[in-house]
């Protein structure tokens, strides 16, 4: 059981441990399709003999200090906007101790005696991060094998691998914005907000109002371009194009009179999330077309996508358009976006032929769409969802949604 795990099992398609030395591969030098730079969004850490140099419960009155190598990795990855979480067979106090001695900020902590793969799955659900955007670091080969077996998409590493892996493209996002550097702190805010919401009695709308939610929609400026690009690459659950858009493309779209580029910012009394969403629109006489609609999954459940759709619907109608359309890549990741579109009354006529790469030409969308067609047999006439794209439309002749009181945008009353 331990044999094949010693060198650190690596999920298929990833760079194998040992084949890449630290520093030999820089982000961007690996061809698209073999590995996508910046794929790990969160590292899930074991505590004993991983974050700490020793075993928490066997150390008596004086808990062990931080492992210096892992503490350095932690700091370096935080500076790149990568999150951290803890999965440990220890009491919760061990996680607090580990946070204190490593100086790390942990977005989630699962302490208990259940299976590590269950803890990792709960962290993925809590942080809204897909398993293939997680790495797991544990010194125990059995735990690594268990997580590898139960959650194949997770990148599983030993602490020794992790020292090397800092140089891998998976841990090297191409862009690191101020939003990205504050990400750890934002997830800590998120934990406090979720705790408050659980103890709040009323509906979510009442909760959003009670915590002073503010959604601000504005025309994008040149200063927003790097964050918009980053969002376009990082978002998957709310990304209509299923692919990223380059900074230069955002730049030229902003200066083009034929299109609109919008930013969406979010804050409340728990904290300021900054720029969490955006869209690119084309304004025809008959129809407005949303070329890209995207939102950070961190903003999910906080009224942001609903406010943005309401603003787009109102603005298109006010400018005299009859239809608002959102061409959408169909994959198994962006179902939340389809839910938001369905809730706002959009409908799609049907699939366009598969194989058409979305603008931007990134391979990620195509791969995700391929997964969606999986073994489930998506063969129901009329409603079937295959890989490809569909255009979701809303007829603007009907009753229009109101912009919620906490949202504001250009031209809105």
């Amino acid at each position: 059981m331990t044999g094949p795990v010693e060198s650190g099992p690596v999920a298929p398609g990833r760079v194998k441990a040992g084949t890449v030395k630290a520093g030999t591969v820089k982000a961007g030098t690996v061809k698209a399709g073999t590995v996508k730079a910046g794929t790990v969004k969160c590292v899930v850490w074991d505590i004993d003999n991983t974050l700490l140099s020793g075993v928490y419960l066997e150390s008596g009155a004086e808990p062990p200090p931080a492992d210096p190598a892992m503490a350095a990795v932690l700091r370096e990855l935080s500076a790149r906007g990568i999150l951290h979480a803890i999965a440990s067979r220890n009491p919760p106090a061990a996680a607090e101790h580990a946070a204190q001695v490593t100086g790390g900020e942990f977005a989630a902590a699962e302490c208990g005696w259940g299976r590590k793969s269950d803890a990792v799955a709960r962290i993925a659900a809590e942080l809204n991060i897909a398993a293939d955007a997680l790495a797991f670091v544990d010194d125990d080969p059995y735990e690594r094998a268990e997580v590898t077996f139960a959650l194949p998409p997770v990148l599983v590493l030993s602490p020794e691998d992790m020292t090397d892996a800092v140089g891998w493209p998976e841990f090297s996002p191409s862009v690191v914005t101020p939003e990205a550097r504050r990400r750890g702190a934002m997830y800590a805010q998120r934990r406090r907000r979720l705790a408050a919401e659980r103890s709040f009695g009323g509906s979510r709308e009442e909760f959003l109002r009670s915590c002073g939610t503010r959604v601000t929609i504005a025309a994008a400026s040149a200063a927003d371009v790097s964050r918009l690009h980053e969002l376009s690459e990082r978002t998957s659950q709310f990304n209509s194009a299923g692919a990223g858009l380059a900074e230069e493309e955002f730049g030229s779209l902003i200066s083009s009179p034929a299109s609109g580029v919008l930013t969406v910012r979010l804050r409340d009394t728990f904290g300021d999330d900054g720029l969490v969403g955006g869209c690119v629109t084309e304004h025809g006489a008959e129809a407005w077309t949303v070329r890209l609609l995207m939102m950070s999954c961190r903003a999910m459940g906080r009224g942001v996508i609903e406010a943005l759709l309401a603003w787009l619907i109102q603005s298109a109608a006010r400018e005299g358009a009859h239809v608002l359309e959102v061409p959408c890549a169909l994959n198994d990741r962006n179902v939340p976006l389809r839910l938001a579109l369905a809730a706002a009354g959009f409908r799609a006529a049907g699939n366009q032929p598969a194989g058409g790469q979305p603008a931007g030409g990134q391979p990620a969308g195509g791969q995700a769409a391929g997964q969606a067609s999986g073994p489930a047999g998506l063969g129901v006439p009329g409603g079937a969802v295959g890989p490809g794209r569909a255009v979701f439309r809303l007829d603007l002749g009907g009753p229009l949604p109101e912009l919620p009181g906490w949202a504001s945008g250009p031209g809105a009353p």
Binding site: Q237, G301, P336, R338, L339, G383
Partner: protein
């Protein structure tokens, strides 16, 4: 859970109807857990899920579809492009029931 999938029942009531009712109750429980609101346990079958009473949004909707896939093995989003199945609690229960309880094409 008396109405077992596969319906060994020989009673007059169609096993599919009984199964759909059970699935409807399960969906009510999922919604109550996802929203933290106990009143979800009493919503009528014809309540619109996107309407005022339930106010399904992308967050609660995602939780609901994930639970349905885990409990019944039905991938609603994979089979229903416009998510019309989510019109009401009743339409969703029927959609899941047809697939989970062995409609025309149970082969897999």
């Amino acid at each position: 859970m008396t109405a077992a999938p596969g319906g060994a029942s020989s009673a007059d009531a169609s096993p599919a109807d009984a199964g759909t009712a059970v699935i409807g109750d399960e969906i009510r429980r999922i919604l109550a857990a996802a929203t933290g609101r106990a009143e979800m346990l009493d919503i009528p079958a014809d309540a619109p899920l996107f309407g005022q009473a339930v106010a399904l949004d992308s967050l609660t909707g995602t939780l609901l579809l994930r639970e349905i896939r885990e409990r019944f093995g039905v991938d609603v989003a994979g089979e229903d492009l416009n998510l019309d199945a989510l019109a009401t609690l009743g339409t969703l229960a029927a959609f899941v029931g047809e697939r989970a309880l062995g409609g025309p094409g149970e082969a897999k």
